[in-house]
């Protein structure tokens, strides 16, 4: 609340401040907090957690299709990030660096075990179904999404949910921009084929 009041006061005092300047200010503030995190400052760590916790859990949940596992991955990712925060050079945004850790952990986890074999599909996609009254449609969408490979799903989630640009996705996934474009296209193409097939099947029944 106090921070909001200060921000309001700053806006009143300097109404001509551009968005870029605001962004630069935020980046500097974040950089200062990350430096404090590197020194083990608890308040700074809590600040970073508060800022990125929900986004990290959501990203992991979308990639893994499982909210409980997403919490585990988020915990693992934050611990890893705080332990290796000295290695963060600040060339890209902190979120890109953090997302990279999250995605890698998700992919590792999915590589280690087959998600579909370990957990029944209904449990995996229960959350997807619960939020929509259009159960059948959502079920088919979730089934199709589940059939995509994790790297493709990661690219899709980063683009559709997180709204990252191609270059930012490339940064997170550590792949060229052209590969991001083709991966997104392939993911959508696969989704289209399976979704169309399911729709036609449903219409015949």
């Amino acid at each position: 609340m106090t921070t909001n009041v200060w921000k309001l006061a700053e806006t009143i005092m300097a109404p001509g401040k551009t968005e870029a300047a605001e962004e630069a200010l935020q980046r500097r503030e974040e950089r200062a907090m990350l430096d404090r995190c590197a020194q083990g400052d608890e308040r700074a760590i809590r600040w970073v957690l508060h800022r990125y916790r929900d986004r990290v859990v959501r990203l992991a949940a979308h990639v893994l299709h499982n909210s409980r596992e997403a919490e585990d991955v988020a915990q693992e990712a934050f611990v890893k990030a705080f332990r290796q925060i000295g290695q963060f050079r600040g060339d890209s945004g902190f979120y890109a660096w953090l997302y990279r850790i999250v995605i890698n952990l998700c992919l590792d986890r999915m590589r280690r075990k087959s998600m579909t074999s370990e957990m029944p599909l209904e449990e995996n996609i229960a959350h997807f179904i619960a939020v929509s009254p259009d159960v059948e449609n959502r079920l088919s969408v979730a089934q199709v999404l589940d059939s995509l490979t994790p790297p493709m799903r990661a690219a899709l989630v980063l683009r559709e949910v997180e709204g990252l640009e191609y270059s930012e996705i490339a940064d997170v996934l550590n792949i060229p921009v052209g590969t991001v474009r083709s991966r997104l296209n392939t993911a959508r193409e696969q989704f289209r084929r399976r979704w169309t097939a399911l729709e036609e099947e449903a219409n015949h029944v």
Partner: protein, 212 residues
């Protein structure tokens, strides 16, 4: 889904990302008007977008706390027992919900302190530099005092008040001590107490005023 439309579907994918020119957009629209497969593909893209964006994974407050605590303990940072945390869950929730109120009070106290400090500074400055802060009439009077090195009003006028007793006390001679008093009373009678020669206000007034 036919392969002859692959190029159009590439454009469709780029359209989903906003990576398409206006010309390409219009061309795609024209093509989709006559192609059922591409219309289905566009519908599929919308379903995918909705499925991904409308699904949220909100963390419950308890899960959030558990996650934070587990991360902090994994990092070797002991859980800090702040006052709200010590007071139990209910108070902690109350604190989280009504945190704005104490902050507002603190702001009010801060503003009040600032205002008081400003007023004090103004009064101190006024006391140190009376001429700058005096009213015009006072300033003129002070200027007269400085010029003539004498009080702005004659001292006699101070006695010309509707309190005659105060005036008599002001001008009365000191009373003799008890020993002096006893010796003097034997020899001669005590003199009558001197009353000050106060100016008669009626006599001081001009005659026209008395008549009127």
């Amino acid at each position: 889904m036919s392969d002859r439309c692959y190029g159009w579907r590439l454009l469709l994918s780029r359209r989903s990302d906003g990576d398409i020119s206006r010309y390409e957009w219009e061309a795609l629209d024209d093509h989709m008007a006559g192609c059922r497969d591409c219309r289905m593909a566009a519908q599929s893209d919308r379903a995918l977008h909705l499925a991904l964006t409308q699904t949220d994974f909100p963390l419950a407050p308890e899960a959030t706390r558990r996650l934070d605590d587990s991360i902090l303990s994994a990092l070797g940072i002991p859980e800090r027992l702040t006052v709200p945390q010590r007071c139990g869950r209910t108070l902690r929730e109350l604190w989280a919900r009504w945190e704005a109120i104490p902050n507002l009070y603190l702001m009010q106290i801060g503003t009040g302190t600032l205002a008081a400090a400003s007023l004090t500074a103004v009064y101190l400055l006024a006391a140190l530099h009376p001429l700058e802060f005096a009213r015009p009439a006072d300033a003129a009077r002070l200027a007269v005092v400085r010029q003539h090195n004498e009080p702005p009003v004659p001292l006699e006028s101070l006695l010309d008040r509707p309190v005659p007793r105060a005036a008599s006390l002001w001008t009365a001679p000191p009373r003799p001590r008890a020993s002096e008093k006893s010796s003097s009373t034997l020899s001669q009678p005590a003199p009558a107490p001197q009353t000050p020669a106060l100016p008669d206000r009626h006599s001081a007034l001009p005659e026209t005023a008395i008549r009127g």
